[in-house]
Symmetry: C2
Subunit: 132 residues, 2 copies
C-alpha cells in the first residue's frame, strides 16, 4: 500500500517560529497566503471567495514520537494521551484548519482568514465544509 | 522532510466494497470498530465513551491521480475541481469523520457511531472535536 504523502501547495505566513503561534486559531491568528503547485491548480477552480474551507497541512516541525503529552501551557497537569489533544506533536502531524477564502487567483494563490500554521508549512488537501 | 504516514490502527466495518457506502455519513452509515495498534494505545487513554471525536483515515483504495471529477451520481454535471468535493479520489486520500465513541476498552478497541469507510481502512489520527 502506498503511504507517501504529496504536497499540493505551501503556506506563507508571518508566523516564523512555534513561539509566534497562538494557542488556538480563534486567538488572533493572522491571515495567510497559500500557493497551489501548478500540477494541482485545476483542482481549485471551483473554490470561490467567501467560502469556508478545510485545509489539511503537514506540520513539518512536529515530534512524531509523542504518544502522551502535557497539555500546552499547563505544566501541573498529568500526562494525557495525545489523541485527546490537538498537539502538533503526534504520530501523523496533520493539521485541520477551518478558514474563510478572502481571495483566489487563477495562478493558484489563495488568501485566507486566520490560520495558525508556520510559514512554509506544506499543504496536503482542501475540502469543502459540509453543513452538518 | 519525512513524508511517510504511519498507521495507528485499523477500521472494522460491515462495508466491504465501495458500492456498500452511503453518499454521506449522515445517510445511515453503520457502526464500526477500531483497533488501535499496541504501540499507540497510551495515546487513547483519556478518550471517554460518549465523546465526539474526529477520525482521520487513509482511504487506501482511492485513485490519487484525480484532480477534476464529476460529482458522485450526477453524471450530467461538468467536471469540478476535486478540492471542492469530498471525493475519496484525490492526491492525498485522507478521510475526516466526526463520530461518537460508544465504548472503549483498555486493549485498544473503540466502538463508534455511523462511519462511512471500508473495512480494513487504516487509521491515521484521532482528534477531539473543539467547540467552535
Amino acid at each position: 500500500m502506498e503511504t507517501e504523502i504529496r504536497f499540493i501547495g505551501k503556506i506563507h505566513s508571518e508566523l516564523k517560529s512555534i513561539e509566534d503561534c497562538p494557542l488556538q486559531e480563534t486567538e488572533n491568528a493572522p491571515e495567510a497566503e497559500i500557493t497551489i503547485f501548478p500540477e494541482f491548480i485545476d483542482g481549485i477552480k471551483n473554490i470561490l471567495p467567501g467560502s469556508e474551507i478545510l485545509l489539511l497541512t503537514w506540520l513539518h516541525e512536529a515530534d512524531r514520537t509523542v504518544i502522551e503529552c502535557i497539555p500546552r501551557k499547563n505544566y501541573e497537569s498529568p500526562l494525557i494521551g495525545v489523541f485527546s489533544t490537538r498537539s502538533p506533536d503526534r504520530p501523523n502531524p496533520i493539521g485541520i484548519h477551518s478558514v474563510k477564502v478572502l481571495s483566489i487567483s487563477s495562478n493558484g494563490l489563495i488568501k485566507v482568514s486566520g490560520l495558525e500554521v508556520l510559514d512554509q508549512t506544506p499543504l496536503l488537501d482542501i475540502k469543502p465544509v459540509l453543513n452538518r
